[in-house]
């Protein structure tokens, strides 16, 4: 998770957190705000160059701020620890509003990008995200998340060598597509000229 992706990010060198506006606490907040999987104090500390003790202290400060311990005005989100990992969630008091937004605001149709990604997974399963990205030529992280959320795909263990999470389609997917099992997926070949190059994509995947 915390491993580097090879695509040189903007500046690999560790910045001096204290010199940044908001300091180490804001840096911690920046990470917590965008991670999907909860991160432990150890992981957070490593990324920030801080001890887990210091991280826990900052986490508690953030919790107090979000809960409005001093101002009496809580924020709409809260910092929760789940099974040792930390992540920001919407505050539980607002569940009715969030529910309403989810129920009515979300489109009930898959985007073209989601459909294409699902198609790649269906015909190449079990397959890692990096491989799907390489085949589609775009980042598919958020689309994969949508498909997982929709129950159309599920995790299927990890790649024996790279350790990357693999994905497969679900029974619900078969049901929606209206087929009994994967062997009923129509042949791909007639649509695919030059299949021989497909292997090329494997080389692109780390």
């Amino acid at each position: 998770m915390a491993e580097d992706s090879g695509t040189a990010g903007p500046g690999e060198a560790m910045p001096d957190l204290a010199s940044l506006p908001g300091g180490a606490k804001a840096a911690l907040e920046a990470v917590l705000m965008v991670i999907d999987e909860p991160a432990t104090d150890v992981e957070l500390g490593e990324a920030l160059g801080l001890s887990p003790v210091r991280v826990r202290m900052l986490l508690r400060e953030l919790q107090d701020e979000y809960d409005g311990r001093r101002t009496q005005v809580p924020r709409g989100f809260e910092l929760r620890s789940i099974a040792g990992g930390w992540r920001i969630f919407s505050r539980s008091e607002f569940a009715p509003v969030v529910s309403r937004f989810v129920r009515e605001g979300q489109t009930a149709r898959l985007t073209q990008a989601a459909l294409e990604t699902l198609a790649v997974i269906a015909y190449r399963q079990p397959v890692a995200r990096a491989r799907i990205s390489a085949i589609r030529g775009v980042n598919v992280d958020s689309v994969v998340r949508t498909l997982l959320q929709r129950g159309l795909i599920a995790e299927a263990g990890t790649h024996p060598e790279t350790g990357a999470v693999l994905y497969r389609t679900t029974a619900y997917f078969l049901e929606r597509l209206g087929i009994g099992n994967l062997s009923e997926l129509p042949e791909l070949a007639p649509h695919l000229p030059g299949l021989e190059h497909l292997g090329d994509f494997d080389d692109l995947v780390p």
Binding site: V34, A95, A108
Partner: protein
Amino acid sequence: MNGPGPVAEEPLEPAADATARGFEVTLENFTGPFDLLLGLIAKHEMDITEVALAQVTDEFISYIRRLRAQGEDWALDEASEFLVIAATLLDLKAAKLLPSGEVENEEDVALLEARDLLFARLLQYKAFKGIAAMMGSRLAGEAARFPRQVSLEPQFAALLPELIWRTSPHAFAALAAKAMEPKPPAPTEVGLAHLHAPKVSVKEQAGILAERLRTGGPQSFAVLTADAEGTLIVVARFLALLELFREAVVAFDQQSPLAELTVRWIGPDSAWSTERLSEEYDEAPAEPAAEPEAEPEESNG
């Protein structure tokens, strides 16, 4: 025409790289003829809005000559694009040699139009290059921000409205095929046959002109290009005439300044062949390549 001024001689990129990565590598730091021209202009600290293009002509042409030396590795349409620009620059250079006076005949007007068009295209390109630089820094800046996009908690995910699904298994397979279609490398070979610009050989055109002049007597450039099918042929014949002039087999007559130019054959009646012509436009002589130290940076602020 005299050969272009000498420039520092350095080896070019190996041709293998040129085929593998395409045009940009052939041109090293430049992404096209306009980019190169802008680079040369910047190097000479000239404002392209001033009529100063002729001053970079020699350097540009010498650059092209070295690119041509890479022969078949160079994509045809890209080469012809350079050739057209080079020819326009040659026109401008030739115009500088003419006595200045009022513009009278059609060829002069055409020449001015060619110049304006080249300026306009160059300016247009310069604007886009400026915008591209700005876009690049914005894209880089944005890449430093990461959006929050986390999975819905299970209790919310369960509330998502039932998915509307209208894709048949067959349509799904077609979608998969399209999504997994291998992305081929740049089509360096594909589609040459239907290109609007066929390969034009200066040497071949020189042969045609020589034949006509030897048998048909003195003729004007307008007559000599009357049957040309397209600009490239006209350009090639123009270059061919310059070559023939250098070989001292043709002479130009002009009754008065800006009067019509007549071309006359003064070479041997027979026993002359285009083999004697310099090969700089058509084939790849093993001449060592040189590289002008043009800055790829744009000249505007």
